[in-house]
């Protein structure tokens, strides 16, 4: 992948400026149609989800009091995992987006909600709602692209440490909530800029630590203690539930912007961007997950990532309803509505992580027969000087061009 602006086949070349504004107008109308019909049924929906979550969580925690008994351990762990996923995805993420603010219920409001997650709601809202949703998929602006630790684009020069990328990515997935907290805190950047003494940063860091403290105390001290002799099994169950939730939300989020074929954009390209162009960037920079109603709920309707990115503040339960209209709009304007089942999207995203952890073209040129010489090339690129790397990279790029030409002929 490369930023859209540098592609040889630009997927939006056929659109005129007028087309783009017409798309924007149609999307504004779709948005308004949902706002005009928001009401009691939607309110009932979110209250129902919240109620179900609380009952599952309470029930699972109760079952886990007997976690020494293996069936109780299994049932309780599954229940708690489901509860935590619901809480983070369909409830927390969406409430913090302000999707339910229109109800004016102070208990279900983006300004009062706190979620079961290491990152305090306040900090997450800034990095997610303001930065990620505004600068979606703009390389160098949207840190969600690789969370500042990954190579996400062919145009970023390959460095030997990128080889570790699949491993970091997996560790990040396991401890995703802490990764998010560090990322919302801009921890890496602040350390790099030696600004950790900044009082504003310190205040935020303290808030994160307090939040983590409360979360850890709940899952790894209080509830295990309440289980008495079953302290360790309950602790293990809670750890597992957090792990499952982290892996799940990481997978869903990878699917949103990371599968092959999702476009990224140049920093320059968003200067003076119109509303229509902003919409278009969201359309091209997001990918959906197809699946059942249960799948949509468990992903917090981020399975409708395209719809969510177009209208981040519309109630999540309405995305499914507008999805056919959005898809029709994509079709009419000759755009690629990127959707696939979860395993396929996750696979695609991980394929990309692995591909980009290697020098450009390496994976494409490697097969069983040439594996050893290719490994030798990789070894030289890893251990060699930047000059060696550049030379070998040129060879790889030339090789790719040749194979593609041959395939085309």
């Amino acid at each position: 992948m490369t930023v859209l602006q540098k592609k040889t086949e630009n997927p939006i070349e056929h659109l005129t400026a007028e087309d783009i504004e017409l798309i924007g107008k149609e999307l504004d109308d779709i948005r308004q149609s949902v706002i005009d019909t928001r009401g009691e049924n939607d309110a009932r929906y979110i209250r129902k989800v919240i109620d179900v979550h609380r009952k599952i969580e309470l029930g699972s925690r109760a079952v886990l009091l007997a976690s020494g008994f293996p069936p109780a351990f299994v049932v309780g762990t599954i229940g708690l995992s489901v509860a935590k996923i619901l809480e983070n995805m369909e409830i927390g993420h969406n409430i913090l987006h302000g999707q339910w603010d229109w109800m004016r219920d102070p208990k279900i409001h983006s300004t009062t909600w706190e979620w079961d997650m290491a990152s305090p709601a306040e900090q997450w809202k800034h990095s997610h709602n303001e930065l990620h949703h505004t600068y979606t998929n703009v390389v160098g602006k949207d840190n969600d692209l690789g969370y500042g630790i990954m190579r996400v684009d062919e145009d970023q020069p390959w460095q030997p440490f990128h080889l570790g990328q699949p491993l970091w990515s997996f560790i990040n997935a396991c401890f995703f909530e802490y990764g998010i907290a560090a990322y919302d805190l801009e921890l890496a950047g602040t350390i790099a800029k030696k600004r950790t003494g900044d009082p504003e940063f310190r205040a935020r860091a303290k808030a994160v630590l307090r939040k983590i403290g409360r979360q850890v105390r709940k899952d790894y001290v209080i509830h295990p203690l309440l289980s008495g002799p079953n302290f360790l099994p309950t602790l293990a169950a809670n750890f597992t539930a957090n792990l499952v939730r982290n892996l799940w939300s990481n997978s869903v989020i990878l699917c949103g912007h990371f599968p092959e074929g999702v476009e990224t954009f140049e920093k320059k390209s968003i200067e003076g961007e119109t509303r229509g162009e902003w919409y278009l960037r969201q359309m091209l920079g997001s990918a959906n997950i197809s699946g059942s109603k249960a799948m949509h709920i468990m992903t917090g309707n981020l399975s409708h990532q395209i719809e969510h990115h177009l209208f981040p503040d519309l109630p999540s339960n309405r995305y499914a309803e507008i999805a056919p209209k959005i898809r029709d709009l994509f079709d009419r304007y000759g755009l690629n509505y990127h959707t696939a089942p979860l395993p396929q999207q996750v696979g695609s995203a991980w394929h990309k992580i692995i591909r980009l952890s290697l020098p450009n073209g390496w994976l494409e040129l490697t097969n069983r027969r040439n594996l050893l010489p290719q490994l030798a090339v990789l070894y030289k690129m890893t251990t060699g000087s930047p000059k060696v790397r550049r030379t070998l990279q040129r060879k790889l790029t030339a090789g790719v061009r040749l194979t593609r030409a041959a395939a085309a002929a």
Binding site: R38, G39, E40, N41, D42, A43, R44, D51, R54, K55, L58, G98, D101, W102, M103, R104, D105, P106, K107, H109, T111, T112, E114, W115, D116, R214, Q215, R217, K218, I222, H223, L226
Partner: protein
Amino acid sequence: MRLAEAATTPLLPADYLDMVNPLRAGADLRGRIVAVHRETRDAATLVIRPGADWQRHVPGQWVRIGVDVDGVRMWRAYSLTSHLDRPDGCISITVKAIPGGKVSNHLVHRTQPGTLVHLDQATGEFVLPSRAPDKVLFVTAGSGVTPVMGILRNHDELTDVVVVHSAPTPEDVVFGADLRELAAAGRIRLVEQHTDTAGMLDAAAIAELVPDLAERATWACGPVGMLEALEEHWSAAGIADRLFTERFRPTVLVTGEGGTVTFTGKGTSIEADGATPILDAAEDAGVLMPSGCRMGICFGCVLPLREGAVRDLRNGEVTTAAPGDGVLIQTCISAAAGACDIDH
């Protein structure tokens, strides 16, 4: 308790207790509607079982009730009309649906028993003094009769009472049957004015109907125009201190110029026009606001204006704040008169 909080974080133990018993002591004050009695074609009495923390009200007072209309939480104030000593401990409010009124129409026409509503404690000054006067006059119109009914039902000791009530037709008299029964039993002297056929009563006509008006303590509740006419008459007669009035909604006399209102704490900005109270404009934009009576009397909506200008919709008075002033303004009766920066 600390342990329970540590076990439920980021939720509170109350969030779980609310699932079981939302009316328990210690919970946010709520109530459950147990019955809806139709009074007239456009008025109904809602019988509400209040939460355990409900404090006894004083007859004549009103209560703010928060109800979800089309999924949106809306708060309004209504007079309490119940007997204080109902054996079931319930309270009642009586609501008249006003044309175009979202909340009143919902409450009168669409509310089902079993609905949970949100409440504040009762408040209001439209009450009898601790020693009830010997001679009383109530002047009411439309739903203005509701606090008076609340008083009549609970003050048997009142013996010399005149009620002058205006409504379009006999059928439109809220509590018509109750009032006529009280009149038949000799507890009150009832003057019903049916304005569709007989026109409006002015202050002079009331004075004619009630010759001993000056000897009476008078409580009046109804449209603003009526109240102002009465106030003028009572002042002219030199008995202004014997008249107590209750307004149901503020009168908008003037409008501001509108402007961008920024809520510093929340980091949000809205465009507010010059005719809409900042409270309404902010709520329409999804900002959670403190609110109260929505008519400029309870000060439940007060927020500091850090900088900018607002206009009091009741009298046109402009309040300005320079940076650092933090002038307290009532958002329910103030409209933006330019860009405003509010600490919230």
